[in-house]
Symmetry: C2
Subunit: 757 residues, 2 copies
């Protein structure tokens, strides 16, 4: 349980090339580099992305995270034959991503078409110490006789985002016959990029350089004796200069100097430094489980590896893209996924990063205010999809119907307003976990006030009360409804919390106070019926239900849309994900234990789980209902979204939110952690497969550690820690072991949360 | 000798993919489509180009012929295996381009990795009748058992010019679940493009469409019984709307209607119509040879196939790109190649096309005048590289030194001014061959006056005479010299002819007349020395010579520049091509027979032939010297520039000028045709390999036919035709056979031209 797992592939399959490129991508929050092979394959999509490096390629286009020039690619020619895993015979292959070090290693024995054998090894990593540093090492050992080897590698700026070019080539140079450098700028001039690369080879008969058609290449050729090893060490310094910061800087010299420093250290020393930097991360956040299924630990390590890789901790003006930095999917845009699925992990392990993520929203308040004003509302209406400017980036014509030619604006940008309250929820979560008053005064109160102001202006007078009309909840299969339960409750929470904190900080004016109180009194809050079930919206219960078994079996593929139009789906009880279940997750106090179970039982059969956000949340809520086995099944299925067998499930990038949800499911589901009324609460509910779960936590400045089995909760805390365990308040100082039998008289798992709190 | 040859490949070699894609490209002067395989290969560069469809992708970029969205590509999956010639085993393969029909056909038997055999055939052509129509047919026959087949094909707008994207996607539609249409515009809005495609399949279980990431695709799947044949007929209408002509037109409807008309006809009928249109071309221009080397006829047929494919006869605002429409090389720009190497073929076979090519220059006079004025000269200084606007398109930084970072303007654009006189030469040639007074008054006189005015202002007073300083002749290895023989003589010719024709048409003002006469009197014309050798320029004879044997063996590769810098090459007697030999070709009257031989003997050892324009011209001049065997050797080597074994010789497009030179060498070299003082002259000099050459010709409106053997010249002419044969004037009416023995007393081949005329 102590050694970090890795991700291993021992077979080459051209069909899963791009999935593997995303799963095994290198990343350090600053840059992400897809795990493409050195050699080209027709279906292989290379990709390098830097956080915040967005550009729009034309008036008809959408802002997207730019796929930057490639440094990974190497054409390897051995004895005149272009090396490829599709030619000759691959006698053995092992590709392994070490989560601990972030190093990707490929080892193989290749039987070339001419019958000669070669051992080929490649290694690479993105430094966690010096974020712009990417290092590669290639070695080739002829096993049957001497060989001629030639390598062409460099900086390839022919990369595009599916044919869209974002970069102008500003300068291409080779310094001192060693240092390759390409300087690029986005076509709008906003951002600059300097890539500087250096190749060190064990021996070379001939080295030359070429610069043509956006490719700056070094051509190396060498003769290698049998059993001798030819090595190539390529180190690149990838420096982005966002928002005009490159102006006035000597970005060429900067790149050269930094790279020279890295080259002086060499691959091994750079790796060692990077591993040391990562060690701290793992120590502060790793979740260890004892499970009968070894894939569980791997899923958790994978998730944390990716959470590190995707998060731009260095820059509060960047946030986490829906696919992290692993692909072009969703154009690198930021969704509510960040606040709801990703921020909690950082909140409980590195709260400073969680603050950065909230500051990203605070920096972008102007765009949100502009969108609210444009839509006829007050306050801040955050963009459904966000990039760097803070303006709405949802592609206007994503829903263009290629048959009718009708261009529809994407409905999410028009009506999926719950995002506003989700951000406010994250602000409150952050404050409750950190008690960070500095944040509240600098950013938190602004966010709470502006989000609340939005809701105050968003209401409709109807039925003698305030209602929220024409919204879309998280369930995107049900559009343009009135009084979506999730939205109404979250909006109410948003305004209530804003009023509370603005009053606490004496930052509340009378007019706001009056409007907020009226809103809180008069906003219609959907309530559970006598069976305990809360209607998703005003019209939901009147709609017909159909058997979804077939579509649930293909969850995530949106197969329902092959049989029904969106309009038809909208008129049935068909959910992409269940809003009431999501509400139960975010606001556990809304429901009694019995109501929780009733809602889960009612909505789950109506939910296809076509959203990658769905299963994990159902799993957590199932755990809170004490149904550990359903919870485990959901959790495993959630982990399979990226790690499962579908060869194309994440071709254009891993699902960042689903990755965050692997941690959420373990810590908030099975360990049963949640925050309510400013208190830390734990109601563990381990699945039968698991003997124990073990994780660190930061709570209001102190470092905690939990070790939970089916029968015990061991907690260590530096100082006094009040805690609610299985619904009962306890106090911890130092090491403490609690026994479940002392808390729960009934069956394990039957203990629930708010019902007893 | 009567059946047109074809180009056949019976082996698949990934190294020569791109060469073959250029050699076998489809073309009709309107569009060119590279002969890429349906399936993708990592090194394969797809390409579709339309004449005149240029765009500049950014301020740092050069205007280039846009690589348009691809329609050729098809992903073929059989029993779940992606078809590729690199997987499984190719049991037989034949790929054939029929020059007569322009149809490219590939037939193969594929043993799939699962052991099943399949016959796969694909055919395609660009219509010569309806220029925007491109038709493809794919058929798949399972030979071992039933099979599932799936095809994905459509319109792929992810194409770029080496990573540079030129097009905005304006609209993407599927009409009536059958007609795919993508409408694109250059990013500057100048040109529009509508591609409409339709697929007809023999059977399909499932058809769906997708539009994502600039790819509009049709997905077809079918089950096919053993020995049954699945066929897919894809017809595309590729309509370009240049210079804003698309505005106000319903280009969508236009594309649909035209395509519907084509689809109603079907592949076979469309092909038949296209072949009929091509037949006329071959009848009017085919050169037939009886040679011991069958590749000679193939080279001539190849050349004429490509001359048809590259020449935009439909649009006088477009001209012939240096690589035709077969690749991105030279960015699709137009050079002096057009006037000197390509125009003569059309002049003698389709003079209307030759006039179009000259009108292209006339339309672009404004740009040439602007460049002259900007450079401090009068008249018209045509751009060294020209696209559609008529402005200088030579990449400013092509010569950027990646080691020093120093950006040099390409010298050709600054000083390679002979182009101006070359255009005037073509004007005079055109008039002499056609006696087209309409052309002369509308365009010819303008071109002659403006080019002459340029030279009048280009002189330097030195040594008591007018000199031309700081020029570059055709030999680009010798830069910035004074009194380049080629340039001075051609400039003199230009002014003399302008004066002559302006006087003839009474379009000459006194001032021009006076300046021209002074120029003609006082311009220094380099003269042959006592050995008959003319110095290439003032400084040439003082430079040292070195042994070039090694570099001549690698002609065309510029290997000299690996050993010497450009500056060093400039200071030695090292020629890329020989200017004096080129002058001898264009102005035969400049030299006596003895001088001709002396210059060839002097310059050839000093010439590497690194220019693809070099060998053919040496060959023609050798023939004029009576050296048929040297001439033949040069001619064959010239034909090998594209057709030879080098697998990468024309990856980015065939050498248009070298293609034209295959015709020049046959007709102007071996048949010894040339025009002097307005007279048609023939001094045949067949190589030993050839028994006969046979070709049609248009001369001053009448159709002639020549059949030439070593001993005879058979001529047919409709009406009276004065002709100078082996230096003696003869008159032809109807059929006539002349015997060499009646003209030449001495050895065959010793008869020369101007020496006797």
């Amino acid at each position: 349980m102590n050694t970090l797992t890795s991700l291993i592939r021992s077979r080459f399959d051209p069909h899963s090339l791009n999935k593997e490129a995303a799963l095994m991508a290198a990343g350090n929050g600053y840059a992400g580099i897809r795990a493409t092979h050195e050699e080209d394959y027709t279906l292989q999509t290379r990709g390098m992305f830097c956080a915040g490096f967005y550009h729009r390629a034309g008036a008809q286009e959408t802002t997207e995270l730019v796929n930057l020039p490639d440094v990974v690619g190497m054409q390897i020619v051995i004895n005149g034959e272009v090396f490829s895993l599709l030619s000759g015979t691959v006698l053995s292959l092992r590709r392994e991503l070490h989560f601990a070090s972030g190093e990707l290693k490929r080892e193989l024995i290749w039987l070339a078409p001419d019958g000669q054998r070669f051992a080929i090894e490649s290694r690479r990593f993105l430094s966690a110490r010096q974020l712009p540093c990417f290092a590669q090492r290639l070695s080739i050992t002829p096993l049957s006789g001497p060989a001629s080897v030639s390598i062409v590698t460099g900086i390839d700026a022919t990369q595009t985002n599916a044919g869209r070019q974002h970069l102008d080539e500003m300068q291409v140079r080779v310094f001192d016959r060693r240092w390759l450098q390409g300087i690029y700028a986005t076509q709008d001039g906003a951002h600059q990029l300097a890539i500087t690369s250096h190749c060190q080879v064990s021996r070379a008969e001939n080295v030359r350089f070429s610069a043509k058609n956006r490719r700056l290449m070094q051509h190396i050729s060498a003769s290698v004796e049998r059993d001798a090893t030819f090595t190539l060490e390529k180190i690149s310094w990838i420096a982005v200069w966002l928002d005009g910061t490159g102006q006035g800087s000597d970005i060429s010299k900067d790149g050269l100097e930094h790279l020279q420093g890295c080259v002086a250290q060499g691959y091994d020393a750079l790796l060692e430094a990077s591993v040391a930097a990562r060690e701290m991360y793992w120590r502060r956040s790793r979740v260890k489980v004892s499970s009968r299924n070894p894939e569980d630990q791997q899923a958790l390590d994978f998730a944390l590896y990716q959470l590190f890789a995707m998060t731009p901790c260095h820059d509060a003006r960047s946030s986490i893209a829906a696919k992290g930095l692993t692909g072009e999917g969703y154009k690198g845009h930021v969704f509510w996924d960040t606040e709801v699925f990703l921020l909690p992990f950082f909140l409980f392990t590195r709260p400073g990063v969680a603050r950065q993520l909230l500051r990203y929203r605070w920096y972008n308040l102007a765009g949100a205010q502009e969108k609210a004003a444009r839509s006829g509302y007050d306050g801040a209406l955050f963009p459904w999809e966000s990039a760097r400017s803070g303006h709405e980036e949802t592609p206007p014509f994503a829903a263009i119907n290629i048959r009718t030619g009708v261009r529809q604006r994407v409905a999410s940008a028009l009506a999926e307003h719950h995002l506003v309250a989700d951000i406010a929820w994250a602000v409150v979560q952050y404050y409750q976990v950190t008690h960070d008053g500095d944040f509240m005064t600098r950013e938190g109160l602004d966010l709470l006030r502006e989000t609340a102001l939005f809701w105050l202006s968003r209401t409709t007078e109807a039925n003698g009360r305030l209602e929220l009309h024409d919204v879309i909840g998280p369930d995107e299969y049900t559009e343009h409804v009135n009084n979506n339960a999730f939205t109404n409750h979250m909006a109410h929470y948003n305004v209530a919390q804003a009023l509370h904190y603005l009053r606490t900080w004496q930052a509340c004016d009378a007019q706001f106070e009056a409007r907020a109180e009226d809103f809180l009194t008069r906003l219609w809050l959907p309530q559970p019926d006598e069976q305990g079930v809360m209607a998703q919206d005003d019209s939901f219960m009147a709609k017909p239900a159909i058997d979804l078994t077939r579509y649930k079996a293909e969850a995530g593929t949106q197969a329902i849309l092959h049989d029904y139009s969106r309009a038809e789906v909208n008129e049935m009880q068909i959910l992409k994900q269940a809003d009431v279940v999501m509400l139960a997750y975010l606001q556990p106090g809304t429901f009694t234990a019995a109501q929780l179970a009733a809602n889960l039982a009612f909505y789950e059969p109506r939910t296809i789980h076509d959203s990658s956000l769905s299963k994990a949340i159902h799993g957590i809520v199932a755990a809170r209902c004490g149904d550990a086995e359903s919870s485990y099944r959901f959790w495993r299925e959630g982990a399979q979204i990226d790690l499962g067998p579908d060869p194309h499930s994440c071709d254009d990038g891993i699902h960042a939110a689903a990755t965050g949800a692997i941690w959420l499911g373990a810590v908030q589901g099975f360990a049963g952690l949640y925050v309510s009324d400013g208190e830390l609460r734990l109601t563990p509910c381990l699945p039968e497969h698991w003997q124990a779960i073990d994780f660190p936590l930061v709570w209001q400045g102190q470092s905690l550690h939990f070790h939970i089995t089916h029968d015990t909760v061991a907690v260590s805390a530096d100082s006094r820690l009040p805690l609610t365990l299985w619904g009962k308040p306890v106090m911890v100082t130092g090491q403490h072991i609690f026994y479940r039998r002392d808390f729960c008289s009934s069956e394990p798992g039957s203990a629930t949360t708010e019902g007893r709190a």
